[in-house]
Amino acid sequence: MKNRISALLLGTALALAGGNLAFAQDKVIKIGSLSDQSGLYADLGGPGSTLAAQMAVEDSGMIAKGWKIDIISGDHLNKPDVGVNIARQWFDVDKVDVIVDVPNSGVALAVSNLVKEKNRVLLDSGAGSSDLTNAQCTPNTIHWTYDTYTLAHGTGSALTKAGGDSWFFLTADYAFGAALERDTTAAVQAAGGKVLGGVKHPLGTSDFSSFLLQAQASKAKIIGLANAGADTTTAIKQAAEFGIVAGGQKLAALLLFITDVHALGLNTAQGLNFTETFYWDMNDQDRAFAKRFQERMKNHSMPTMVHAGVYSSLLHYFKALDALGGNPHDGAKVVAKMKEMPTDDPLFGKGSIEPNGRAIHPAYLFQVKKPSESKGPWDYYNLVATIPASEAFTPLDKSTCPLLKK
């Protein structure tokens, strides 16, 4: 008799629990840090992004409030199919709520679609393609750190206005390179310049000499590098070798990270103009974060803007969950809450998230210091100009995001 009562009670409890499952709120979060852990983008994202996520968890104070937060990481090898497979397993088996980082726009666009289908959250920091918040936007994706529009309008416009009115592109042959070339072309033309041509190179090229010779022959004043990571550093280094800068042409590294400058050394990198949204030496808060980050990184590198973006976007995500009082495990609902709340964090300052998922904050035009100006390792940038948040990203009325058309 006693057994039957307990069985009955258990059955009722299970039925109730089952009925409530769709709306169940708990205080459990699972984060997946999906990145290139071993290839040409591993230094700008990779293990550093997982560390940034850990630091965000520690600094958010969520654990003290009774939340249970786990982080797992995966290596997408810069292949969209690999990235989607990992994400699918994370969602179906590991019950991951939110994916962070995802450099490589090709992978990011593919993962973003899956995130929408599974109704989870993507906080993208590493990818560049502005398509993530334009034609391919979803109610589940927030694009945090930068995009190709920022880079194009920061570096592209500035250099064109400074007299660099003819351009030739060396473009990485995938989604990011194409988007960056497209956005930069638009910015250059808007500023009165013209594009003479371009060449597409495979991702992860170790020898740029053929492409550089074509750029040299084009006689363009500016050679725009629409690539990233090791591709950019190799191209810059070999351009110096072929006397391209000495011959009067100028290089525009459209996307350059502090780890790239470190790899090039100031002798080679000095004078390069580029746009970023975070530099470790901007204010005391940045410096404090960077110092803690550097101590814990295996190769003791400073945080890139991608790492900073992972940290800040997660802090904001936690704030939204805290405001909701629990994790509803409903991606679109959490993202809607995040868009509702203004952003404010130590690294990117005050800002907001647009309805298309674009996080808005200022961007900065930097120039790499001369070796004589640098006070030591990692002291690499001079601030040239600050681009206000309202100009750094695609204006809402120009965004092609379907979420905006209602």
Partner: protein, 287 residues
């Protein structure tokens, strides 16, 4: 037309790296019957060795050209003594798997400590600058790479094909028992040969350090192309791999000019074509 000449020359420069690397592979395969997948990792170690010599011991490029191949060569000989020698007589697959595993371990260790962006290494002051050839601006360093690697390739070919030492070596691989009967220490000779092949890889690493970044993954991409070169040239053929190395560099260079998107697949397309027509490779003999 001018641009075409320039691309041909650039192809020749890349070809000299392919030639040096595939030469080492061909020596190792021809003499030891080992498919050395660790070659790319050892090439990377050569570049890192040059970097450490410069930054830790303040030893410049020129001594590094000699020291790095010796240091990495000794490392290779230790590998051969402790691991590879036990695989003699087994199927090729075992050697391939062992060296592939070693490559992954070596690359993983370096990547753990140095990340993936790489470290700077500048061109020695004597070889900086360039000259205008009319159709292109040739960096002096690149010219030096072509000349130097040609000399090394020919010297190696001469050593193996034309000297008594080389003759002993070739005999030892054909019939080790008989050669041992002549009082020659065959295992030691095999170890030294592996060291020579590895040293060639490290030499290519030092040569490429000023051109590419010194990166843990620098050998990963190049090794696959180099294997294609060895297969096209005919496994184990010394001259075949030298000629094919240069030729494929040129073909790749031309592709970069006419259809850049295909530049990292053209070598493999070429490999497929050659294997379909002549399965033993261009200079290989039927077994």
């Amino acid at each position: 037309m001018q641009a075409l000449y320039a691309q041909l020359l650039v192809g020749l420069i890349n070809g000299s790296f392919y030639a040096l690397l595939s030469l080492g592979l061909a020596v190792i395969f021809g003499m030891l019957n080992i498919i050395n997948f660790a070659h790319g990792a050892l090439y990377m170690m050569g570049a890192f060795c040059a970097y450490f010599l410069l930054n830790v011991l303040n030893i410049g490029y020129w001594p590094a050209l000699i020291i790095a191949p010796i240091v990495v060569g000794i490392f290779g000989m230790i590998l051969e003594r402790t691991m590879l020698q036990w695989l003699a007589g087994l199927d090729h697959l075992y050697g391939l798997l062992l060296t592939f595993g070693l490559a992954l371990i070596i690359q993983g260790v370096f990547q753990n400590y140095f990340g993936s962006s790489g470290l700077p290494y500048s061109i020695p002051s004597e070889l900086q600058g360039g000259m205008n050839l009319g159709f292109m601006y040739l960096p002096i360093y690149r010219g030096w790479v072509v000349v130097f690697s040609l000399v090394v390739c020919i010297a190696t070919w001469f050593l193996i094909e034309k000297t008594r030492l080389g003759a002993n070596l070739r005999a030892a691989t054909e019939n080790p028992t008989l050669v041992r009967a002549f009082g020659i220490n065959v295992p030691r000779m095999i170890t030294l040969t592996y060291g020579l092949g590895v040293g060639l890889a490290a030499l290519a690493g030092v040569l490429s350090a000023p051109i590419n970044q010194v990166r843990p993954l620098m050998g990963e991409n190049v090794i696959i192309v180099v294997f294609a070169v060895v297969v096209i040239g005919g496994m184990g053929s010394i001259m075949g791999s030298i000629v094919t190395g240069f030729a494929l560099g040129v073909i790749e260079g031309l592709t970069k000019y006419f259809y850049p998107e295909a530049s990292n697949t053209v070598v493999f397309v070429f490999m497929v074509l050659v294997l379909l027509v002549k399965p033993t490779g261009l200079t290989g003999r039927a077994a």
